[in-house]
Amino acid sequence: MKFGVLRFPGSCDEVDAQLAASKVGEAVLLWHGDRDLQDVDAVIVPGGFSYGDYLRAGAIARFSPVMESVVRFASGGGLVLGICNGFQVLCEAGLLPGALLPNANRRFTFRQVSLEVVERGTSFTSQCEEGERLSIPAKHGSGRYYADEATLDALEANGQVVLRYDPAENFNGSLRDIAGVRNEAGNVFGLMPHPEHAVDALTGSTDGLRIFESMRAAVEGAYA
């Protein structure tokens, strides 16, 4: 299984994402100016501040050459994971519903959060245990998930809300405590917390690995 991690000017978590993915498979970096996805089985859009977050977080990255290929890859059913800024990029690109707005607490906040796995039957959470909560760090200034009420109702009805914050830890003010959503087809997933920073017991939690392991299971199942 081969992961491709995008690298934009201003990305800062791509190396951690590559390291995390390399614990479950092969992982290569893909430069934002290239269109060639190098035959990867899954794409990770990493965290950071692509293009300096100019205009709006994710607004410019969405138009980069590599994103054209990612959009094609996703429409063909390829697995795409967006983390933090990557989630913002996927929303701006229209691959995921909604938008990420400035945090309600008006601060760039860095803290460990406890996430409820709302949907276990997904390509990104299948390796989570029943009732498991994931302890994963979040660090962002614009992570307040927003969509209109009708969209939120539809997301819940379709099982597209994959992860929720513990309501007591929803510092960014995300509507309905939403921390991660997938698209209707189920092959594109974005979340604000950083699973790639929770893959080693040395830093407190290995819960983030569940996400990467689930992606591997989905890919290997698909090609088995």
């Binding site: 709006r56 607004a59 938008a99 707005l101 400035p102 307040r144 927003y146 969509a147 003010g173």
Partner: protein, 78 residues
């Protein structure tokens, strides 16, 4: 042609920047200010102003959470 696009958070969307400014004002001795909303202004030179609507909707604003307004600037007034 010179044009200006004003982008603002949609009504009802929480605007933490506006709130922060609103809360700072009393400390400076300015009372009676409320409903502060912060958006952004983009000024540009454009050959074909009919493209402005699409440019604004696709890039300058995110129509899901922001409204935009296009003003064509009269060259005579500059």
């Amino acid at each position: 042609m010179r044009a200006r696009v004003l982008v603002r958070p949609k009504e009802g969307i929480l605007d933490p920047q506006g709130e922060a400014v609103e809360r700072a004002l009393p400390a400076l001795g300015f009372g009676g200010v409320s409903e502060v909303r912060i958006g952004r202004m983009v000024e540009l030179e454009i050959d074909d102003p009919s493209q402005l609507e699409e440019i604004s909707g696709k890039l300058l604003a995110n129509p899901l959470v922001e409204d935009f307004e296009i003003e064509l600037l009269d060259p005579a007034a500059q």
